[in-house]
Amino acid sequence: MSATSRIPEIIGRYERDLLPEWMEQQLAAITLRRDLIDESELREQSRRFLNLLTASLSSANGDTEPSGPTWRETRDFLAGMSRTRARQGFTPSETATFVFSLKQPLFERLRREFGRDADALAQEIWNGTVLLDKLGLYTTEVFQKGREEVIVRQQQEMLELSTPVVELWEGILAVPLIGTLDSARTQVVMENLLQKIVDTGATIAIVDITGVPTVDTLVAQHLLKTVAAARLMGAECIVSGIRPQIAQTIVHLGVELNDVITKATLADAFAVALRRSGLGVARTTG
């Protein structure tokens, strides 16, 4: 928008009239979500947006780049609104439509203001479109950024959650594996396990694969790698939780698990681990 644009002046002058006109159109639109937002809240949002827009426009001095410093408050308001609406269940396009819907009353005003001066009218409509498009798209951008942050955080949490290393007893660690074992997860499991071995000085580690749905040659290879790495750190590995089907698959695939102690259940593996550590479980009498 050039500095000679009259939009800031027009919006400033007709701010009071624009709001009811805009509200009327928003309430009449079929895209209005009465189930998610009531009229008073929508009116409040519209009023604040119009206020901020007027303030930003008057101080921006023709600068309509919404990333500029004079637009900070408007930007913050839109970001906040985008987040709230996303939580309320609005789609990003519905949120953006809120901003875009201001075009109709605004252009109506411009038409009345410029009357028959078609050149000036076209120019100003273009200016207004550019500005409102930028602001509308900004809400979508915020929405998307929020989504991406959630996804990244969840991915991280899943990776952390799914690979805990727990200390069962002094010197005995257990790694209950849940879910498919791919290279990336094996890497995380291996690193966590080895670090925990260093931290606790454990000599026995039980890798429990009860929660691993399928074991193919690749998964078996990953398991063997983990076992080998733990052995290099001076800890012996026991693989437990091998279901009958998995035992069959392993043999059919010709995977060699000869060097690894394998047990059907975690309890069996724990018993072996206790025995190796010179410990035992005794029933108390009385």
Binding site: T203, A229, L232
Partner: protein, 128 residues
């Protein structure tokens, strides 16, 4: 020329690698160690690699070779103090050092050698 010191403790030889290994140093260590095992008639070799941060396939293979040579000379080798990153690297290189005993730290490694030596002596003696 730099050398890695080999210390004798009873029937055991103690090697602590405190510098980054390069190939020449590794070969020297191999020579020195085998010579010392023969000289001292040691039955246990403890190699501490807790300061070793970088390994390549050559160093990995050399560790395996030293263990095999020591076994031929009737000494058991224990590699102790391997860092997690080094362990992962060796496994990814396909060098899982079969036949080499490992322990987390020098203390545990010493226990391992002592118990191996004790059982060796126990077997040598006639059962009472």
């Amino acid at each position: 020329m730099e050398r890695i010191p080999i210390l004798k403790m009873g029937e055991c030889l103690l090697v602590s690698i405190q510098v980054d290994m390069h190939d020449r140093l590794a070969m020297t260590l191999q020579d020195d160690l085998t010579t010392r095992i023969a000289e001292t008639r040691a039955h246990g070799v403890l190699i501490d690699i807790s300061a070793l941060e970088i390994v390549d396939s050559f160093i990995g293979r050399m560790l395996g070779n030293i263990a095999s040579m020591a076994r031929v000379l009737d000494a058991q080798t224990v590699v102790v103090g391997m860092r997690p990153a080094v362990a992962i690297t060796l496994v990814e290189l396909g060098l899982s050092l079969p036949g080499v005993s490992t322990a987390l730290d020098v203390e545990k490694g010493m226990d391992l050698i002592q118990s191996a030596l004790a059982s060796r002596k126990g077997n040598g003696r006639s059962p009472t």
